[in-house]
């Protein structure tokens, strides 16, 4: 394509619509229209100029608003589909694996659930195609912005004061008529009072205000791109940690992914509202709902291990901090945060039994089995012993005669024990469950009689590090600045020219809020007695309407 020379002599880049210098319309289409298209100041945009190579085609595709909106709508619809049924991570199943999740969808939601899972919608937001859509949005943001920003910036930077009359009379706000000699000087005074930047050149005047608002869209797009970049960074190892730590009251555990620190849980506390708070203001609500949680809290001690300590060693640890972790009040240290996320009340901690003679009900002593770290052998008085031959913390039944445990958590402990007493030196075997005892090798003389149980609470904590947060924050901040800049400010311009015969022509343009532009112009007119102006777009619309009514 060739460069385009205007009648005024200025040579414009190929694809220009309005001459950069004088503002004359350069294309036939533009020459025939009643109003100029001021959207990008009539500059040459790459996407509107070249369409030959593959690069041109890709560039043009992504710079199109239509395509951009298409991508937005596609993401919008996809996002909505993902809320029809709960996403995988919010599904509650006893044992978590692909099969149980799949079964959950078809069991609970029937055929619809089965199809939903089959199409991969149960994990829609991390699906390949959804991420591609977001990626396309990012590309569109970059290309569409560059395509518009570069020429717009050039054009607004090199604005001329004097424009050709055909540029002026095709502006939406336009007026023509006679006025006093000093009209330019007076207009300048008033416009400056209204905080316009005024430039004069020979017989012309250009007043401009709020040009920076034109950069708003590009600034907010930069913010979004930074944000999306931050989200991508999460994939880089070391930027992001998301671990769960279940910790029992009284336990001290190394913090996952942060081995130099350890955490001790002193206690977990669950509080509910009594209804007495605020002078009983809440009693009605508490009565209706039954129970309203007030506080979930784990009191912890954070330890730091000496640098030369072995993994797992707990001695010589230094107390860093004691802290009550509550919802909304995570414990923070060294770039990490520990959150109160979950809990389990009254987990079994230890069970106490008495070795009893079934007939005489005479006790040979008691033993307490720790359900997390049980001992192998318990020695009682008079040489009696109880040997723990098998321990099944979460007994789930027998398989081929062998007792099984579903999980390593002491939810339903089962003990296979051998009891030896002076009376039964050969030993008697017994399988003990809660409220049930099996004697596999025939009737025993002795039994372990349940005495009591100790329980404790378990806190579910989340360990999180997210080094992308500052980048996301920066992206968000830039986005908000850009949005405010583009939406709460407008770019307003007036061109006034005094011709040799004393005639005045004036034109006005704004990127939005014509109402306020007219208000400004009215003030200037009142002060400097400018000729009357009209809103040409409204005139055109009125004309169309009139024609329409006549046609009826």
């Amino acid at each position: 394509m060739d460069k385009m020379q205007c009648q005024c002599g200025h040579v414009n880049p190929p694809g220009t619509i309005l001459c950069e210098s004088c503002g004359r319309s350069l294309t036939e289409k533009e020459q025939n229209s009643k109003l100029v298209d001021m959207r990008y100041e009539g500059t040459a945009r790459r996407s509107q100029t070249y369409n030959k190579s593959i690069i041109d085609k890709v560039w043009n595709f992504f710079s199109s608003v239509k395509v951009g909106v298409g991508i937005i709508v596609a993401i919008l619809v996809a996002a909505a589909i993902g809320t029809i049924l709960p996403q995988e991570e919010y599904v509650q199943v006893a044992v978590r694996n692909e099969d149980t999740i799949k079964a959950y969808y078809s069991d609970v939601y029937g055929e619809i659930g089965r199809i939903y899972h089959f199409l991969g919608f149960h994990d829609l937001y991390s699906s390949f195609w959804f991420i591609i859509l977001v990626g396309m949005l990012a590309i569109s943001l970059i290309i569409a912005s560059l395509d518009r920003f570069v020429p717009l910036y050039r054009s607004l930077k090199n604005q001329r004061v004097l424009r050709h009359e055909s540029f002026m009379n095709k502006q939406r706000i336009y007026g023509k008529g006679y006025a006093q000699e000093d009209v330019l000087a007076k207009s300048e005074t008033k416009l400056k009072e209204l905080k316009y930047n005024v430039t004069r050149d020979k017989n012309g005047l250009l007043a401009e205000k709020g040009r920076f608002s034109r950069w708003g869209p590009y600034v907010n797009h930069i913010g979004l791109i930074i944000f999306l970049f931050g989200v991508m960074l999460r994939m880089v190892p070391g930027f992001y940690v998301d671990e769960t730590l279940w910790i029992r009251e009284g336990e001290t555990r190394a913090i996952p992914e942060v081995p130099e620190y350890a955490l001790e849980s002193k206690s977990f506390e669950l509080e509910t509202y009594s209804g007495e708070e605020k002078d009983g203001a809440f009693s009605e609500a508490v009565d209706r709902v039954g129970s309203v949680a007030k506080n979930y809290q784990t009191d912890v001690i954070l330890y730091k291990k000496p640098e030369d300590s072995l993994p797992g060693a707990t001695e010589d640890m230094e107390i860093v901090e004691e802290y009550p972790i509550r919802v909304n009040q995570p414990l923070k240290f060294d770039g990490y945060a520990v959150y109160q996320m979950d809990f389990k009340l009254d987990e079994l901690k230890a069970m106490t039994f008495a070795l009893t003679n079934k007939e005489t009900e005479e006790s040979l002593g008691e033993l307490t089995i720790d359900l997390i770290n049980p001992e192998k052998l318990y020695e009682l008085e008079n040489g009696a012993t109880v040997e723990l031959k098998g321990y099944y913390p979460d007994f789930s039944g027998f398989e081929n005669g062998e007792p099984q445990t579903a999980t390593p958590l002491p939810n339903n402990p089962g003990f296979l024990v051998e009891m030896t007493t002076p009376e039964t030196p050969k030993g008697e075997t017994s399988f003990i469950l809660i409220q049930n005892t099996i004697e596999p090798f025939g009737e025993n003389q002795f039994k372990l009689e349940f005495q009591g149980v100790e329980t404790r609470d378990v806190s579910g904590l989340t360990i999180r590090k997210d080094n992308t947060l500052p980048i996301l924050g920066l992206g968000g901040l830039i986005f908000m600045i850009g949005v405010a800049q583009g939406m709460y400010f407008n770019h307003r311009r007036f061109w006034i020219q005094q011709k040799a015969n004393g005639e005045i022509i004036l034109a006005g343009h704004t990127n939005k809020n014509w109402f306020a532009l007219k208000k400004d112009l009215d003030q200037v007119s009142a002060y400097a007695s400018l000729p009357a102006y009209s809103d040409q777009q409204e005139e055109i619309e009125k004309q169309l309407k009139k024609e329409g009514e006549e046609a009826l």
């Binding site: 993401i75 996002a79 509650q92 203001a281």
Partner: protein
């Protein structure tokens, strides 16, 4: 009188003021002789003052309730929805003071009344905060969102006025159908309010036990005669209606029953209005908008989005993410409420791009404004009541 009681009296006062203002605004618009705006400026001013009084009472409700509970009253369905009605009026006041358009008041105030009435159907006693909500971010995040939604809703109101004027009701068209569909859905909300109020006033109660979707035995209380029964239900109260059909476990038949009654009452009401007036509801309203300046309505709709969009971004995304990071350990978790906030945001982003980039002004823009409001309402009502998630506080 306790603060909480005072607070509800203020809300009544606001409700009544809005009701009066609706009619005065209607009169202001209707009283105009063709081509004159005398009545508009005279009665419009009166109506504006009444609305301001109502709004002040509404604010008084908000802050006395805040005083009574010790937290911003934005923590459940009743509180949030009432606040939405309030910010809708607030948004109207801002745009009215810029553009002086009584016809907008005639549309916004009845919608605000409907929203507040709808809110009152939910438990309204003051309630304490669950741990996740105990944060200053409750006031910051939720109030920003509700203000943004109030402003964005004005764009729908302006759009509706625009459509009432431009859509030709004498010929069959898609536009005519959908415009009337908007009117019909507003009447349905009224149907819900009437049905709930009636059954609450008569003290209707029916209890059932049923098997929930996890296969566990549960109990439920119906506040309306059970049209639909829960999964494998057994009636616990005597002399109540026997459900016509039983629903599978994934469907909450009690909520479905409420929807059904609202539909029945709303539809009857709609046809009563239509038969008495002998025309569509949009046609009843049409004479009120005959003097409307379309360009101005288009501008108001656009301005509302321009003002509302940045506020929405700040409240529903930025503040939301900050709080989610503090309370739930992650700034984003694809919870349904989060997703629908994103959808709302994407939708208005599309609106802006279509308007600025593709020149979608006037009627197209008006339709988009109305659709935006529908999405906001969906996020408020459906996501809270139907799609369960972390934000289901109702």
């Amino acid at each position: 009188m306790t603060l909480a009681e005072m607070s509800s009296n203020f809300l009544y006062a606001a409700f009544i003021a809005y009701l009066i203002a609706t009619f005065v605004f209607g009169g202001a618009v209707k009283g105009n002789k063709a081509g004159t705006y005398n009545s508009e400026s005279r009665w419009g001013k009166t109506a504006f003052i009444i609305t301001i009084i109502g709004f002040l009472a509404n604010l008084a409700y908000f802050f006395t309730r805040w005083g009574a509970t010790g937290h911003a009253p934005l923590s459940n369905m009743f509180e949030f929805t009432t606040a939405f009605g309030m910010t809708l009026v607030g948004g109207f006041l801002v745009l009215y003071s810029l553009y002086k358009t009584p016809v907008l008041g005639m549309i916004v105030l009845p919608v605000a009344l409907l929203i507040i009435a709808f809110a009152s159907m939910f438990p309204s006693e003051v309630s304490p905060l669950i741990p996740a909500l105990q944060s200053n971010w409750l006031a910051i995040h939720v109030s920003t969102v509700v203000i943004a939604e109030g402003i964005l809703a004005i764009s729908a109101a302006a759009g509706l006025v625009y459509l009432l004027k431009v859509v030709d009701l004498t010929k069959k068209s898609k536009q005519r159908f959908w415009l009337e569909a908007i009117m019909y859905s507003l009447v349905l909300v009224l149907g819900f309010v009437i049905a709930s109020t009636y059954f609450t006033a008569t003290g209707y109660e029916a209890n059932f036990s049923y098997v929930d979707k996890e296969g566990l035995e549960a109990e439920i209380e119906y506040k309306m005669p059970p049209v639909f029964g829960m999964n494998e239900y057994t009636a616990l109260s005597e002399g109540t209606m026997t459900p016509i059909a039983e629903m599978p476990a994934v469907i909450n038949a009690s909520k479905l029953t409420t929807v059904t009654w609202s539909l029945i009452v709303g539809t009857i009401l709609y046809w009563v209005i239509r038969l008495i007036a002998r025309r569509r509801i949009s046609a009843i309203l049409k004479p009120f908008v005959k003097n409307v300046n379309l360009n101005l309505m288009d501008e108001i709709g656009y301005r509302a989005v321009i003002i509302g969009f940045p506020v929405f971004s700040l409240g529903a995304l930025v503040f939301a993410m900050i709080w989610a990071q503090i309370a739930w350990s992650r700034f984003w978790g694809w919870d349904p409420k989060e997703v629908w906030a994103l959808i709302t945001w994407l939708f208005y982003a599309a609106y802006l791009h279509l308007r600025l980039g593709k020149g979608w002004q006037g009627e197209k823009s008006a339709w988009l404004g109305v659709i935006g409001f529908t999405i906001i309402l969906f996020n408020l009502v459906a996501v809270n009541l139907i799609i369960a998630g972390l934000h289901s506080y109702a």
